[in-house]
């Protein structure tokens, strides 16, 4: 069972600011879903290799050469705040 503290920690890890009400609702739902999963813990799998991707194709390699053009201005036009080619955020260091 997850606790209130567990969900607080998860919210911190996932950068979510949750009200106490939201946190309590999520806690209940997370426990409900996690209880649905308990039967899988009893399946013997120690000799089974985890399956990471359904087709198990090796990742392709390509030559180590530049293949993209500089599109900084185009991409930064989507950002909430930019200046001189930099993304702006609140001050991190004084």
């Amino acid at each position: 069972m997850l606790t209130h503290q567990d969900v607080e920690k998860l919210a911190k890890l996932t950068q979510l600011a949750l009200s106490d009400t939201a946190l309590a609702e999520h806690l209940q739902a997370l426990n409900q879903t996690t209880s649905l999963l308990s039967p899988i813990k009893n399946i013997a799998t120690t000799t089974i290799e985890p399956l990471i991707s359904p087709l198990e194709i090796n990742q392709r390699l390509r030559a180590d050469v530049v293949s993209e053009t500089n599109q900084r201005d185009r991409y930064q036009s989507l950002a909430p705040a930019v200046e001189n080619g930099l993304y702006l955020v609140p001050k991190v260091l004084d």
């Binding site: 998860l10 939201a22 879903t33 996690t34 899988i40 089974i48 985890p50 359904p54 087709l55 989507l78």
Partner: protein, 482 residues
Amino acid sequence: MQHKTMAQLAQALTNKEFSARELTEYYLQRIKQHDPALNCFVTVTAEQALQQAEQADARRAAGESTPLLGIPLAHQDLFCTQEVRTSCGSKMLDNFVAPYNAQLIEQLNQAGAVSLGKLNMDEFSMGCSGQTSFYGACNNPWDNSRIVGGAASGSAAAVAAGLAAASTAMDSGGDIRLPAAFNGLTGLKPTYGRVSRWGMTAYASSFDQAGFLTRTAEDSALLLNVCAGFDERDSTSAQEAVPDYSSTLKQPLTGLRIGIARALFNGDLNSHIGEAVLASAEQLQQLGATLVDIELPHAEHAVAIATIIGTAEASTNMSRFDGVRFGYRCENPRDLADLYQRSRSEGLGELVQRRTLLGAYYLSAEQYQDYYVQAQRIRRLVKQDYMEAFKQVDLILSPTSADLPRAVNATVDANADFLTQRYTVAANLAGLPALSLPVGLLEQLPVGAQLIAPHFHEARLLNAAHQYQQATDWHTRTPAGF
């Protein structure tokens, strides 16, 4: 007219019964008339659609006559479209206009298809109801007291109501097949890697596959002919030869072996749906197929492991929404932490936040082995079950959904949407192609059956579904009033 198949519309365009512009105007008028009640579209691109239609007419006048030329489609609002907003049904991306087209959009544009607009969906593909979008619920044209299904809610409702000839969508666990079943449509999820994922906003990257909702298997073949194939920009794209999916539709089913896992016709399966699916098996048998009993011993765990791996991957994918590079940013952030946290909390809906938390839990150091790695091991067992079954059979038949779509106002627990994918999610776990097709009506609502094929055997799926649709008329039923 509005319920003609793409193939019929292409023939009519070739016969000069109407122009692509007239056809597009007709659909735009229908959207204007019916979409306020249904809420299928997040964005209607009327001006662009008419331009594309005129270009298609010009290409046709110059002698071109390809199957998609001038056919009005609409796209789920998670395929990136240059100059048109791609919202993923989320406040987070309410202002997001991608700087490029998804590969699938590019392929359909080049084939001369017309895009009517972008379709509503469950936020970031989370949910099976069509009710979690920032832009409001998409309504079921068959019965507005029931959910339309999702995540590709608008993609299903728009085609069922005759607001587009066909639609594109993403399937991560049943998101195409379930709303297809609920709306009397043919829904195709191709093999993982068959259609490029480039420019398709991810839910769970090892599950997601682009596909289509159409009136017939014949129309699905036309779309797959254009969209299947290798794309070097998608690192999981398959380098497999692409057949002409239309050329094998007419093959007789003689000798086709269809597997049925009868043990899965149990539990909360609505018995009338089970009967309709078994009746479709008999129909396929009359068309020459042989029915074979099979076993899929780990199928019952598919929902549990998909919940773990799917939310884990989704949680990771959601981390890109940080309020810095694109998307929603909160007002007056106090500091960087506040910027991240409030942008995400205000920009993401409740279900998205919940699944982000869930996925982070299964990936956390304390739970990683017990949940995430264990689920990946069982994922291999699920896949092996199918590989074993396909040594005996060519296709596997099951229900698409255990029940009719639930009431809009039904009280459901946190697991309802996961469990809705009971019959569909295993195909995503194993990367297999699967298709839902209409096989009956129950309480005046469509019932779907699902066919699953071995990897890269979409042609076999489409052939069986097409032959079934030549012998039956369930796929021609349409909702009253549309």
